[in-house]
Subunit: 284 residues, 4 copies
Amino acid sequence: MANILGHSLTISSFGESHGKLIGVVLDGFPSNQIIDLKYIQKQLDRRKPGQSEITSSRKENEDFEIVSGVFENKSTGAPICILIPNTGQNSKDYDALKDIYRPGHADYVYSEKYGHRDHRGGGRSSARITAGWVAAGAIVKQFLENKYNIHIQSVVSRVGDIGVKDIYSLNWDTAEDNLLRCPDSDCAEKMSSFIRDIANEGDSVGGSIATRVLNCPVGLGEPVFDKLNADLAKAVFSLNAVKGLEFGSGFAGTYAKGSENNDIAGTVRNNDGGITGGLVMVKT
Amino acid sequence: MANILGHSLTISSFGESHGKLIGVVLDGFPSNQIIDLKYIQKQLDRRKPGQSEITSSRKENEDFEIVSGVFENKSTGAPICILIPNTGQNSKDYDALKDIYRPGHADYVYSEKYGHRDHRGGGRSSARITAGWVAAGAIVKQFLENKYNIHIQSVVSRVGDIGVKDIYSLNWDTAEDNLLRCPDSDCAEKMSSFIRDIANEGDSVGGSIATRVLNCPVGLGEPVFDKLNADLAKAVFSLNAVKGLEFGSGFAGTYAKGSENNDIAGTVRNNDGGITGGLVMVKT
Amino acid sequence: MANILGHSLTISSFGESHGKLIGVVLDGFPSNQIIDLKYIQKQLDRRKPGQSEITSSRKENEDFEIVSGVFENKSTGAPICILIPNTGQNSKDYDALKDIYRPGHADYVYSEKYGHRDHRGGGRSSARITAGWVAAGAIVKQFLENKYNIHIQSVVSRVGDIGVKDIYSLNWDTAEDNLLRCPDSDCAEKMSSFIRDIANEGDSVGGSIATRVLNCPVGLGEPVFDKLNADLAKAVFSLNAVKGLEFGSGFAGTYAKGSENNDIAGTVRNNDGGITGGLVMVKT
Amino acid sequence: MANILGHSLTISSFGESHGKLIGVVLDGFPSNQIIDLKYIQKQLDRRKPGQSEITSSRKENEDFEIVSGVFENKSTGAPICILIPNTGQNSKDYDALKDIYRPGHADYVYSEKYGHRDHRGGGRSSARITAGWVAAGAIVKQFLENKYNIHIQSVVSRVGDIGVKDIYSLNWDTAEDNLLRCPDSDCAEKMSSFIRDIANEGDSVGGSIATRVLNCPVGLGEPVFDKLNADLAKAVFSLNAVKGLEFGSGFAGTYAKGSENNDIAGTVRNNDGGITGGLVMVKT
């Protein structure tokens, strides 16, 4: 198993969805930075299932505790370990699953690979594990915002075939005002009804998320194997249900001619997603 | 700069497009394996520009030399270093570029990042660098084929809006019969004319490549951060012009309902691209 | 900070001596192995200070809890996280240290490096941290013993200038019978009195430890940069008070002529410490 | 095999003593630094065998070529590949060795590990390989000297039982004046005669080297697993014949009482070798 991500800043993930707790160790974080616990809680609350009728009804606890690396609300430079107890999970719910494999889940392949399966739930393959990543990410996010004014934002841009038009022209701050976290409130309404209908049929549906990073310094990334887009791709595909990823004009750009699609240094058409040769090209 | 890719098997890349040579070190390759030089040359010849009127007319030399790690045609277990001289490149062609930045290239951002730019050409950002990866990959490919009967195949599936239907149902071995390396010969013909027309306009166009791996063992991959799809994504986005990547039903699958799209263990609908929870699910 | 050790099998260490707990994540451990909790406890009890009048009188708690990676007493292949609460430490004992730096400790240099010091104790530099390593090591040790009959043993070979003669000819199993863990019981007695006398003067003294590994497979290690001795050296110097390390005949061998000291393949004089060119030479 | 050393700055080593060439890739080196080729040649000349009657009489070529990463005498930020041809080696000299294993060499264990042995010489286990490390080290050394005034110096402190007294009180710059590179010229003379005598007997002898680093910044190193002494230990034991390593007062210090041996913050007794808790303690 490989449970560590990153180079100079790493997260080391542990815990199973139906064990006592899940957790994460954030290593390489600079010392002397103020750690705002409320900011972390807010990010964890955004992630948790059971927030509304349009998400999974599963309840998960998101109380967290930092057990190392922070002293008097400041980082010490030591690894920051965050623990999140699993109080909400009920193993008994899963007893029926002891001998069956759920479609679209990793149950079957885990049995094949490890010869020993914790049938109480998804275990390491559960999306529950990402709560630790969110907590560690929240520490890094507040640091990037406070120190460098770098803002990483993600919004829902499409659910099924209900998609937002010109999403980069909208005010993304409004996305927090609706359950969907979509910056187009009309679209958000339609998406909600659609999900409710699908859920009533006992079914689910996919969609798309758009992400942008503001104030990324020019030249961030490495030009050959740790291209910024390559490292982001590795991180994004580490999320459980992701099946596709595009940068800038993405697949649409590959239908276009070079004269229509190629970015020119210093301009902001952004068909390259702001990244050229693996490096950030334009500070936005 | 980060010029090493992989964990237990690594490639370390070096050289610039207009320096004396480019090269690669393949480390972690098992000892006592027969190395077929003709197989390597064939893969290098497939990559090289200037093969036909529909590719870049730039000529590149693909003669290679293995200077370590192979003795009497067998790998010794030592790192395999492959050198490819840059005889075809002509720095003078690029003198005009000394003070300008080419659109869609990394010239500008390199200057910003390193404060010192080799204006003779793309340098490290040139696609020429991938010749070394192809040579190292050819050594690994022949090993996987001979030892495990694992075959990695890639074909052109679309150019502009000329796309192949049902590409996975075709015989991919026929793709080598046309310049496009497309398994549908009618499509290949149309793609060729289209590219010729575009080229006559002094323009270029994008497209898609489909890749499949036959006989991959069930359970290959790691379930959390080194998911097979995540590691493949990192490698794929290390290629210069890649702007999008999908697995299985990809973006199309995100328009569908879960009941329509989710794979069931042991079945071969393959909407997950054969990978569930980061691990290979079905041996194909 | 760098808190992760190892390549395919890693330990990730976290926690401070005066925080809530210390812990370790063991990643890469194979699935389906029986984990004997008593074996782990025994190793932790061996390490803990306060066991007798000849060690530090500081009391430390060694209760541990495995919170992930083990299900029904077997490893699952997931990362194994072990937590050890810090109940025995008393921060108040250290209040007097808020503004002073202890000799031979890292207090001063931590302040310089991080600009923020947890004055409650050694923090990350405390030998308390090694309890986590012992727990993780105990899991690996029982695996090596059960599966490969590989035994790693360490004994005290010298305290001040009281040294054991011909230590490799003695029965090391008897070392557990005395407080010193020295395989020569007469020497152990003398060492004990000596330490008691030194301690009565309010002083301390150094010494040597001898380690051997039985049944190590021939060829273990890597020949260039991950030589077995180089990797062991890195691990050994990670222990707080280590100031010197020798393999085989060590420094003594460097006073000798080559004809006297060099091992010959297949013989057991063992002046090379069983390692030649970074690789295990003879199975002992 | 593991042929890469380092974290943010890495060297990747390749080549065999009797292949066409040996080489090294230095990656992570900053851009825009002047590279003085004469400095590199001088370091390579210091290393090469056959310089005098008191070293191995084997002749080795030390001509080198930088084939990437340097443009117009400045580093570009790209990986720096250095090639050193093996013109001096004569494989025929080794034909007699095809079926025998040399004492103190890794021939036997290589055969066991790889099942395929290049009998022409030491191959990867040859000290010849370190020429590449010296070349890469020379680039880093000139950078440390020019940019940070950090000087790394090594001298011979003992041969057999002829040892220099108070070596740290001598002027080490004088060491370059004699063949031994010993800062005490009388001792150097005695060492030379001794080695000549031993060599006339067809034998060899060991010794010690002392190393110091001037102007190392306080706090350099990492406090837990990448302690400066631990990383140095790994590097030092990567050298072929090293069998022991001490820091500061080393083994001698372990015979002493704590009151005699422990360094106090800010003082220069230096029994800890300038490193406390893995971090540089005092700038010297």
